[in-house]
């Protein structure tokens, strides 16, 4: 469990980026937690606070009921527990060959070579990127680089995985692959916190959401509650997911994802009947 108690943060004393943030992450039924908000709302800054890269100006962060220990040893323990993947893949890939980069964090932990090889192979298989293992990084696509960046953190087997804008810059195929990847990780018990501007993506993948605006949490709750408030989303410069719009504007049932909508035989029959009648 990660708990934030009245957290404030600012790079300068006069200008706070995060204001009085209190939340509990990892409550039962919350495997994928979404952090949504417009540009500059403080999502990335909150992530950096969670992994101890930035230190709150005031307030506390408790991880498993213990405050973060900001000494080197404490931070290393924290980062083994909470892994973070940043938005720009190029800035977090240091080696020129995929498998060397994935092994980087494990070498830093000074694990035995056999264990490193085993974990790297496992992650390559899990993310379905075995074919990329010996490829030079500079010839990978944006989506492939994102997967490599995630693999480089997954090898740590951290309890929590923070993903900052995992779909930014991805084409539809890359986005679909990212969705499948996250679903796969969740299915094997990985706890994930992610931030994104892609509301449809967030709606489809997340269980519980925090809406951040100008450094404040303005709403939190399960996805059907947070995305139901169209006016609040608009004020926060966000848009409602299309499935929620279909439900609110056309009176269709609220589907959890697009597959559920297109698999609804009853809806199809009703629509066909209505169209035939219209003719």
């Amino acid at each position: 469990m990660i708990e934030l108690q009245h957290l404030n943060f600012g790079y300068e004393p006069q200008r706070t980026i995060l204001q009085d943030i209190s939340l509990k992450l990892g409550q039962p039924g919350q495997n994928v937690i979404g952090l949504i908000g417009p540009n500059g709302s403080g999502k990335s800054t909150l992530f950096l606070n969670l992994v101890g890269i930035l230190r709150p100006t005031s307030g506390n962060i408790l991880v498993d009921d213990q405050p973060i220990d900001y000494r080197k040893k404490g931070l290393n323990a924290l980062r083994k527990k909470i892994g973070i993947v940043f938005q720009n893949s190029d800035q977090q890939i240091f080696y020129s060959i995929v498998k060397d980069d994935i092994a980087f964090a494990l070498h830093n932990l000074k694990l035995p070579q056999a264990e490193i090889d085993r974990r790297v192979d496992q992650v390559l298989t899990e993310l379905d990127i075995q074919a990329l293992a010996n490829r030079p990084i500079q010839y990978l696509s944006g989506g492939q680089k994102k997967r490599v960046a995630i693999a480089g953190i997954l090898v740590l087997r951290s309890e929590w995985l923070l993903l900052d804008e995992p779909t930014s810059g991805l084409d539809p195929d890359g986005r679909a692959r990212m969705l499948a990847l996250i679903k796969g990780l969740v299915a094997r018990g990985q706890k994930i916190i992610l931030s994104s501007h892609d509301m449809d993506f967030m709606y489809e993948i997340g269980d519980y959401f925090y809406l951040l605006n100008a450094g404040h949490i303005v709403k939190e709750g399960p996805k059907d509650q947070v995305f139901a408030d169209a006016a609040l989303l608009k004020r926060s410069q966000l848009e409602q997911p299309w499935l929620v719009q279909l439900s609110q504007r056309l009176g269709l049932p609220l589907y959890q994802n697009s597959e559920a909508l297109f698999a609804d035989q009853q809806l199809q029959q009703t629509l066909r009947a209505a169209l035939a009648k219209g003719e």
Binding site: L48, S96, F104, I153
Partner: protein
Amino acid sequence: MLTIDKYAYANRIVQWSPQLKALCWLIGMIIAFQPIMALKPVLLVAVAWNTVYLTHVSWHQYFKWFYALLPFLLLSIIGIVFTAGTDPQQIYAPLKLFGGYIGLSKVMLPRGIAVAVQAGTAIVCTYWFALTTPFQQIIGFLKWTHLPNILIEETMLMYRFIFIFIEAFEQIYQAQKLRFGYDNLHLMVHSSGILAKMLFEQVMVNYEQMVYALDAKLYQGEFYVKGPEP
């Protein structure tokens, strides 16, 4: 993107051991710098042909890679063969100027040609090695020669980040060019200054983000460098 790098990963001898390729390069360099002149042009032509054969690169592209080096080579050769003196007998095509003569030195011309052939042979051999050896093989080879880890680390990181740097350079340059930033000399100087400033700023921002990423990967001050594959 550095297309030159792609050939290193897909050529006819990519599977050769880097030690063998380095040995071939060394023999080439020895021939380039030994005193028997006749061997050098023969080697130059043979290695250039062999490089094109092994990498499937077109001659046109191959010659284009020399454009970057030619100005330096030409300047050096011009510096050697051009001379000024009072005796026109010592100068080919003497040109009278301020009471003296300038032109190609009869003594230095053979020397200049020798240096040009020598440098050309060495460059062709180095291109052969660079175009046939993938980077991880070069790192494996450096490790095999027991060079200090810090040097290999630096080489590795430079290779990784030079692509990102070139990509950023190209993006800014194209954006400037599309807005007519290089249309005349004055604009070119101005745009080049902005380009350098922007690249420097990006380096600073990227550095900060890289430090965050290193923290997340539990970096302890040392990059692991892998030895040659067994």
